[in-house]
């Protein structure tokens, strides 16, 4: 029986072929109890299920739509979910900015926005951009995400504020 191995929040997991068709999100929730990654549309449109991945150990972070990515495609991928981003006692600057800016209400889309911004954060750390491009880059990162409560402005402000205040990512 063939298997696929990948990492979730730095934990190695191996699944055998009878689970290959299972979407990553379902595996995270049902098999690992990691319910911070959310199901909403199930077809990769709303982006609530977004997780951050690295294809290679040191490669830049990318986003992955966990609701529509089968486990068969996960070999060697390193997945990070919202549970790994920060602790209540030590939040990531993006999480703190989401709080400070009242970026969300019901919060069900927050995980997706956070993980997309977290991936962007990593890319900007590696390759800073001109500050004038920041709005566009943020739009590219989270512009397809759906928020039904708060209307996007506060998410964008929070991400922008966190990036600028962190320093070193825009010039």
């Amino acid at each position: 029986m063939s298997t696929v191995s990948f990492y979730v929040n730095q934990q190695l997991v191996t699944v055998n072929e009878d689970l290959f068709e299972m979407p990553l999100m379902e595996y995270l929730q049902d098999e690992m109890g990691l319910t911070g990654t959310k199901f909403c549309c199930g077809i990769g449109v709303c982006r609530a299920c977004t997780v951050s991945v690295q294809r290679q150990p040191d490669s830049p972070r990318e986003v992955m739509l966990s609701c529509s990515t089968p486990l068969s495609q996960m070999q060697g991928v390193q997945v990070d979910t919202i549970e790994s981003v920060g602790e209540p006692e030590k939040l990531h600057p993006l999480q703190q900015a989401f709080l400070d800016k009242f970026a969300f209400q019901c919060g069900y889309c927050t995980s997706g926005f956070l993980m997309a911004a977290y991936s962007l954060w990593d890319r900007l750390k590696r390759a800073p951009i001109n500050k004038d491009d920041l709005d566009r880059v943020i739009e590219n990162a989270v512009g397809e995400h759906i928020c039904r409560c708060t209307g996007y402005i506060r998410y964008h402000e929070a991400i922008k504020t966190a990036i600028i205040e962190e320093g070193g990512m825009v010039s």
Binding site: L34, I43, T81, Q95, C106, G107
Partner: protein, 922 residues
């Protein structure tokens, strides 16, 4: 605090006060338990306790949402996050069955059966059909819970069968075969019999061959020069001949319109149903524990108490497979609601599944297709409006008829239609008005209490017609409104008074001087160079909030450590109400609450009050007109905050001040609430005559002396708050409440509080006010700039200004977030969101977000959207419930902007590119 393997904190503490419901003569103990208190190690509040110390700013202010930390770190708080195994410690079996509900996709042909043969044997579920289900219909449901085999469905989305899969894995595998498979549900012959309106006068009115949901709304008003109307619903609605007389006046108004020299604007408009698309599809788990006869349900709902009542009424059937003596409803944080979780069928369906699961836990978790197929919708609406405006731009008369598509379940549809009737008059003084608004039964997916509650449809009518009048009379959109707006003392279309200051004049002034308007011609030229039409449109709304009579409860406790705890029956759907109520204690107690308990349905029953309509406030000291209602977001800032503020005030006067008097050596009863103030955690006299006392010391002394340490109040609002007199320890007190219960130091906190019945009432609502519909409003204006691409028909919102009268702002981030969310949703409603009725719509089970488009950040003028909130008038002004206010006038503002851009009048929502192209051609 240690985190357990399931991702939530601490251990189980379910020692909660209970209440009892009498169902069919049998007593059932009901516990409604917020999920976060289930897993709170401190047995404390319903908000996630981690990082509590971080959310507060100074007293009365929040640094961030009280529930924010849990949400931003991915903790388990939503119903969809839970599995039966998470409750293993409470005795739940680990293995849960996965439930799928198959629903009617055809309402014309009889339902025969499911073709299970298309599934491999190992994937076949157990199936229950209508014939297997021996349950009563809950009181608010007319049509069968499941479509009986051999009969046609009453509406699209009505369940035809419940599938019980042994595991989630089996269900997922089976879905490859049955999802989107038209052959799985077998239909037979076409049923050509006409549908007959059900013989249930409480729910239906058979009128002119239409089956309408009762009650019907009929508001006719003729104003007089003086304060009293010639005729109105408020004045005459209690008369036995109101209907007859209203028809006579309606005819007179129509005659006046046609025989006068007024300018008359006839308008017909339509809008489709809208799906709320709350982000978490409805989900839940349930388990009937056969040994203890306990029904456990874990779900997110806006109406937990009402849901339990419905479920228990269903189980009254003598052949019901389960007869619980206890119900535990574990209430989770809803992942969005917007009304779509208010009296949803989901709870009933989950209970049906639990009843027929033979003692196994069940999980029912809709996917998005199922949510579209079955979830409550904003009503589709067809409307006709005639507006008569004189040559001075004054509205002289209006007639409006609105028909809402209620779908196959009455739900709150007639009440949505009723509020639309009030909203039909907009924010204007209209001397003659005749309004009919109905919700009709159709076979479509049921409608419900969506954000706006009839307002978005109603304001579209009058704001569109008025824009036509402005153009015709060559008045600016601001001037024509300025000549007609309501002011304090004006009367609504039902004849009810406008008792607050709407401040529409300020709203209009701010919009008129805004660059979106003043620089519109420059922008028009600039966009023209890009081949785009540019236009600006304005519209206002006077969205009412609350209901026609609202009961609220609020509880505040002084903890032994000097902190405060707040409890409310209200559910936080994400609107920030927990945060708002947590800071509402500061006004009278000088500190925010550290511990918040939301969705506590036990508060009201513990007070021992009655709503028996045979009593009045005067003749029964336990009487009130309404217990507590559903959790609508608009009920927070004015209504729920009042209850917590009053509980805090009572606590100050009964618990804190007596201790302070003793400490300062003052005469008993000499200190009043308005003679003291809090500063930096210390109580001081305003005149500075006494040394400050630390709050912790005061509270500690209260506990030592065995005094009152907690207050639970009930308050009722209808035009005014009921004000009552209490005699306590030979002192007279007057508060804006009608019910009071107290906790004493050292008593068991799980026991109900002790009632202190009022001595009498000072102020109660007038009988007429029962027909005012609403008396509280959140006025707003929207100024929208749009571009219209004549080549493609695409309309884009490029500028947006909302001016809102919210009263005093409690938490700015929550208010502006609600407003921005409302604007985004309303832009989607105006331009994108389009549900087809019948089998062409989501009833076919194939609709998802790939074909139902909601607004994204690129659609909402992300970097040029502005909210202006009017400064509060004074410290006595009350905050307004603003959840829905901003969105209500967005659609007409966009429609008016499209006219300003391209001279086409759009009357059919949404304004899709194809409709725009058609209009441009014509």
């Amino acid at each position: 605090m240690p985190e357990n393997k399931n991702g939530f904190m601490g251990g189980m503490t379910m020692n909660r006060r209970q209440f009892v419901k009498m169902i069919g003569g049998a007593a059932v103990t009901v516990n409604i338990i917020p999920i976060t208190s289930v897993f709170a190690s401190d047995g404390g509040g319903t908000q996630p306790s981690q990082g509590f110390e971080g959310w507060q700013k100074k007293p009365g202010e929040a640094r961030y949402r009280i529930d924010g930390l849990a949400k931003v770190t991915g903790q388990k708080i939503y119903a969809r996050d839970f599995r039966a195994r998470d409750f293993q410690g409470e005795g739940w079996p680990v293995k849960e069955a996965s439930i799928q509900i198959m629903r009617a996709t055809d309402v014309d042909h009889i339902f025969e059966t499911l073709d299970l043969d298309i599934l491999p044997p190992e994937l076949r579920p157990e199936v229950i059909y209508a014939e297997d289900v021996n349950l009563d219909l809950p009181s608010t449901i007319t049509f069968p819970l499941l479509v009986p085999q051999g009969q046609r469905a009453d509406y699209y989305g009505q369940p035809v069968a419940f599938l019980f899969f042994k595991t989630a894995y089996q269900m997922r595998k089976a879905q490859y075969y049955i999802e989107f498979n038209e052959d799985f549900i077998k239909y037979g012959a076409k049923d050509t019999d006409p549908r007959i309106c059900p013989d249930n006068p409480k729910e239906f009115k058979d009128l002119d061959g239409h089956c309408l949901y009762a009650p019907l709304t009929n508001y006719v008003r003729i104003a007089a020069d003086g304060p009293k109307d010639v005729f109105s619903y408020a004045k005459n609605g209690g008369d036995s001949d109101y209907t007859k007389k209203s028809e006579e006046y309606r005819r007179q108004i129509k005659l006046d319109i046609r025989s006068s020299d007024w300018n008359v604007y006839d308008l017909e408009a339509d809008m489709p149903a809208m799906d709320p698309v709350f982000m978490e599809p409805e989900s839940g788990i349930a388990w009937y524990d056969q040994k203890t006869k306990t029904l456990n349900m874990v779900l997110g709902t806006q109406s937990p108490d009402g849901d339990v009542t419905e479920v228990l009424s269903m189980l009254e059937n003598s052949q019901s497979p389960i007869k619980p003596t206890t119900v535990n409803l574990i209430s989770c944080y809803p992942g969005g609601g917007f009304g779509g979780r208010d009296k949803s069928m989901f709870t009933i369906n989950l209970a049906i599944a639990a009843a027929y699961a033979n003692g196994q836990p069940v999980r029912l978790a809709y996917n998005r297709y199922e949510q579209f197929q079955s979830g409550l919708k904003r009503h589709a609406c067809d409307l006709k409006e005639t507006l008569a405006v004189d040559s001075d731009g004054k509205i002289q008369a209006m007639t409006t008829e609105m028909v809402f598509d209620g779908g196959g379940r009455r739900n709150l549809s007639p009440y949505v239609a009723s509020l639309a009737g009030l909203c039909a008059g907009g924010g204007y003084e209209i001397p003659r008005s005749a309004i009919k608004t109905h919700a009709k039964y159709t076979t479509n997916i049921p409608g419900g209490s969506q954000r706006g509650f009839g307002g978005p449809q109603a304001f579209f009518a009058i704001e569109s017609a008025l824009d036509e009048a402005a153009v015709n009379l060559q008045l600016s959109p601001f001037e024509i409104r300025r000549r007609n707006i309501m002011r304090q003392g004006s009367r609504t279309v039902v004849g009810g008074p406008v008792s607050q200051k709407p401040r529409f004049d300020e709203i209009i002034d701010q919009a008129e001087k805004h660059p979106i308007w003043t620089k519109r011609e420059e922008k028009r030229k600039a966009y023209a160079k890009e081949g785009l039409d540019y236009g600006v449109g304005f519209a206002i709304s006077n969205q009412a909030y609350g209901t026609s009579g609202d009961g609220v409860v609020g509880q505040v406790i002084l903890n032994t450590d000097g902190t405060l705890s707040v409890s409310s029956s209200y559910v936080d759907m994400g609107n920030g109400s927990a945060t708002t109520l947590a800071v509402a204690t500061a006004k009278h107690l000088g500190a925010n609450a550290d511990n918040i308990n939301m969705g506590d349905a036990e508060l009201w029953p513990s007070m021992g009050m009655t709503t028996d309509p045979s009593y009045t406030w005067d003749d029964n000291k336990k009487y009130t007109a309404s217990s507590v209602g559903s959790s609508s977001a608009c009920l927070c800032a004015f209504h729920q905050v009042h209850a917590v503020e009053q509980a805090s005030l009572v606590l100050l006067e009964l618990a804190i001040l007596p201790v302070a008097e003793k400490h300062w050596g003052l005469e008993k009863g000499s200190l009043k609430a308005d003679s003291v103030t809090w500063q930096d955690g210390y109580l001081k006299t305003k005149d500075g005559s006494q040394p400050p006392i630390a709050r912790e010391k005061l509270i500690s002394t209260v506990h030592k002396l065995g005094g009152i340490t907690g207050i639970l109040v009930h308050a009722y609002f209808r035009e005014i708050w009921v004000n009552s007199e209490f005699n306590i320890s030979n002192q007279e007190y007057n508060w804006d409440i009608d019910g009071l219960s107290v906790y004493y130091s050292g008593t068991n906190p799980d026991e109900p509080p002790a009632p202190i019945w009022r001595k009498g009432v000072n102020k109660t609502p007038s009988p007429e006010s029962g027909r005012y519909s609403r008396t509280r409003f959140a006025p707003c204006g929207n100024l929208m700039g749009v571009t219209v691409d004549r080549k493609t028909g695409v309309v884009t919102v490029v500028d947006s200004l909302s001016v809102l009268n919210a009263g005093p702002i409690i938490t700015e981030g929550l208010v502006s977030g609600q407003s921005q969310g409302g604007v985004a949703m309303a832009i989607g409603y105006s331009l994108l969101e389009d549900i087809k009725p019948g089998s062409e719509g989501p009833a076919d089970g194939r609709w998802n977000l790939d074909r139902y488009h909601v607004a994204l950040s690129r659609d909402i003028a992300l970097h040029s959207q502005e909210l202006k909130v009017l400064d509060p008038l004074d410290r006595h002004e009350k905050s307004n419930g603003i959840a829905e206010a901003v969105m209500c006038s967005v659609a007409p503002a966009i429609s008016n902007a499209i006219y300003d851009a391209s001279q086409i009048r759009m009357r059919s929502l949404p304004f899709t590119s194809s409709k725009i192209m058609e209009a441009l051609k014509s």
